[in-house]
Subunit: 233 residues, 2 copies
DNA sequence: GAGGGTGAGCAGCAGGATTCGCATCGCGTA
DNA sequence: TACGCGATGCGAATCCTGCTGCTCACCCTC
């Protein structure tokens, strides 16, 4: 595989310098972008593997950029740089769909550790899921069909398929409704009710579960979201 | 790291002048605010590292401001300026959660000494705690999860997580119940029973301790409060 | 050592807030 | 018209949180 590419969006020149040097030294291909307003264009132009995004930027701020990036690149790995002490920034960042954050001032070691961890996680996600085995039924994800072992099944809508695929890719981890909206719906999902997710989970359950009232495949984790039950061995 | 930022809230122009000059001279970035009514907004807008707050202000007084600031920025370092002789103001200030106070009239040297001391203390508290290792279990403060090394664990409520974080940040020092109410609960916590703290400590213990009846992690220091046991080497 | 006073541990409870599930409706498109 | 999709509203379940009242442990004084 080609060299991993990282785009650094940071206005402060010395800090940017430090970031770029540290990442280059670690073997990454690094692009830099000093302005928040250009960030989206640069993301589209370079399509990096990971985006390192400062929260405090002149012009468009980090959260706005994150939102736009998520709309067009739902899968992109994003690490945010937040100021020390700004607790709520971190929460906001993570809720907004960042994969991790690093607190300024940071050590190069920590930065690299976080970046590597995020990249590893995003690499681990299987992207070529075609088939999903759930107890006694099989879902053909590219065809959007559920087939039961004992005969026929249902067909899934496009959205349902994408939702199920995302849950499958993150199998065993509860996925937040907001994250689902971000990653599955994409686009203008931020202005949607999160309850829309519930509806689709319900519809999925009706097609997948043996007893939709007592789900065993798509579990709800109170306060966290939904989770596809881990594969039983 | 960027310059340390201090917000000075003081109505008397000459005194404010003196404060600002002294602090600037010492190398701090200083913002000033002449009115008590704007103070909160300025705090939110500039998010300073330290707030220097006069008690006697036209409009909203220093204590009211302190209370509001504590509600939204429980970690912020606050030094109060009190008039000479107003003993009870100092007590009230410290009980209200100020970190220190300076008595007017003051010398620049004394002011700087106090400011530096408070900043040093608050710098010692790592604010970007994400993970807490307690003997054989790990607490993920971001997610509010306790996981035992040998399998599953519990999830912590929001309040529990904040409480534990505060104890962790002040690890090894017994923390007063009143201080906990101020810093963890924030807001209108002063009209609460301090026993509410006990309750939550108990609940934390039940989730954290191997034997909740004989705590080894969250220790009670009689007459002082609670303390997170210092890291064993 | 006895006794009183204070602080802390410990259920249990109840109000309130969240969160979920579900039924239903309306809208737009094929 | 059928279908997919999102919004809305309601009820139920669940959780969080602080209070009350009791007991127990500790400390101090006598």
């Amino acid at each position: 595989m080609a060299q991993t590419k990282i785009l650094v969006v940071e206005d402060d020149a010395p800090i940017r310098r430090g970031l770029v040097d540290a990442l280059r030294f670690a073997g990454y291909a690094v692009e830099e972008c000093p302005s928040g307003d250009d960030a989206i264009d640069r993301v589209c132009a370079t399509s990096p593997d990971l985006l390192l995004l400062d929260v405090l930027l002149p012009g468009k701020d980090g959260f706005a950029i994150l939102e736009e990036v998520r709309a067009s690149h739902p899968q992109m790995a994003v690490v945010m740089l937040t100021a020390r002490g700004a607790e709520e920034d971190r929460v906001r960042g993570l809720k907004g769909g960042a994969d991790d954050y690093v607190v300024k001032p940071f050590s190069a070691t920590e930065l690299l550790a976080r970046v590597e961890a995020v990249l590893r996680r995003s690499a681990e996600r299987p992207t070529d899921l075609r088939e999903l085995k759930l107890s006694d039924r099989t879902v053909q994800l590219e065809l959007g069909r559920v087939s039961l072992d004992d005969g026929d099944g249902h067909s899934l809508s496009d959205l349902e398929t994408r939702l199920l695929r995302y849950l499958a890719v993150n199998r065993g981890r509860p996925v937040d409704r907001r994250e689902l909206l971000q990653r599955v719906w994409g686009g203008n999902a931020h202005e949607m009710e999160t309850r829309a997710v519930d509806m689709h989970v319900r519809r999925l359950r009706e097609k997948l579960e043996r007893d939709a009232a007592n789900p065993t495949l798509i579990l709800t984790v109170r306060g966290k979201g939904y989770m596809l039950a881990p594969e039983s061995p």
